[in-house]
Symmetry: C2
């Protein structure tokens, strides 16, 4: 059975302007790998109502899971929650439990209208808890709405993802072949890929601290197939120097 | 006149699996800002033919510019070039100038079929040059196909983007207000945003080295409007401690 597919919708002008480096994708991807869910697409979109509504509507129909980050704080540019409500055609209602939690946190004169607004969730939503803040994440249908601040996002992922219906975890084996060039093994890799169609064979040039080569990865959801493909891959690069996996060099992306 | 809009399509299983941290978005965003082009959307998609073709076809119709990264190397998983050709309905042809450049680089017995394949570009494409490698980037219509390796990607962006038809550059002003919470200024910001509809007012909580607060940004393509909105923003936060812009704290993303 192929794993369920997820889409991550990053809502944030600050990523698109280059102001902020996006890092939540990697956190979410690792958590989903462990849960046997495949991250199939990421979209980074601006804080604009129509775009958020259109994107969420499209993605929740196409993917088993949709995760969003960003835009659930208290300021004027935090519009995600009301956009999700509109995408589902429901209204916002005060979530009593969240309201009481927020109320307990602020002094009465600091619990202003803007802060109270954080307790308003789309009708039918259930809160996503996190251990580090009061940021109002929530799940509605197959859409899971989370904070953009990395520390809060990670806490929400940690709480949420293990509860999702899961498949077999993604397994991968990796070799770092030093002084190898992709052009030397490309034909062999093509053959190997056709022998193991359910396995994702990747080749990634790396360079770091004066050392370079190619990282070769065999990845899949069937442990035996990953093992077999890995063994065949090892034969293909027999004779090249392998770097230890510990202290993996930071990989560049593919050419 | 509103700036032209660009979409960045990142092609790479290694980003979606969490293996590699994507960093090219920020490089592209900064180059586009300087050129007066707005990065309107980013999509990260897997190395799969139909998905690449569908995504590129959709995006080149919707946006003024499309940039891609990844999948132009010599291995079996480098399928971007042939997918772009298919999206445009053209064949691949040997680009003579690129072929001669590659040929000069390799010893005759090392210039194998796989390496020669890097000189084959979609019909009508023109190469994107870069100072650090022979990776075969190219432009075809409004689609610009670049390498995923960050060093090569950056060199291609540096060569390409200044040649694109440009608008006014994006201008922004920023203040770091220490010990401020978003909830304290949310109402004021909402009012300000309605006064300056063409300016993008952002508020971004930050925390670093035990200091926290909110970064406030006024951003737009009209210098006078950015100036006026910035002055109004400064009034809104009068009385709070401002951190110096130099040595900016790394910003978290929005809640």
């Amino acid at each position: 059975m192929s794993p369920k597919a997820a889409c991550f919708v990053v809502i944030g002008n600050e990523i698109l302007s280059g102001r902020t480096q996006e890092t939540n994708t990697q956190v979410l991807a690792h958590a989903l790998n462990n849960q046997g869910i495949r991250l199939a697409e990421v979209r980074i979109i601006p804080d604009q109502r129509e775009i958020i509504i259109t994107t969420v509507s499209e993605c929740r129909a196409r993917f088993d899971f949709v995760f969003t980050s960003g835009g659930i704080g208290p300021t004027h540019d935090d519009i995600t929650t009301s956009c999700i409500a509109e995408a589902f055609g429901v209204g916002l209602v005060c979530h009593e439990e969240s309201f009481q939690k927020l109320k307990a946190l602020f002094k009465p004169d600091a619990f202003n209208e803007t802060r109270q607004r954080m307790a308003w969730l789309p009708e039918g939503a259930s809160p996503i808890e996190n251990s580090v803040s009061t940021a109002p994440g929530f799940s509605l249908g197959n859409v899971h709405v989370m904070a953009g601040v990395p520390r809060i996002f990670a806490a929400m992922v940690q709480w949420l993802v293990p509860q999702l219906s899961s498949g077999s975890p993604l397994i991968s084996r990796t070799w770092y072949a030093e002084n190898l060039y992709e052009g030397e093994i490309a034909q062999g890799l093509t053959l190997l890929q056709s022998e193991f169609p359910t396995i994702d064979l990747g080749s990634y040039p790396f360079e770091r601290q004066g050392r370079h080569g190619v990282a070769l990865v065999a990845k899949g959801y069937d442990a035996t197939q990953v093992e077999n493909a890995g063994n065949a891959l090892q034969k293909l690069i027999a004779g090249t120097d392998l770097l230890p996996i510990e202290g993996e060099p930071a990989l560049s992306e593919k050419t």
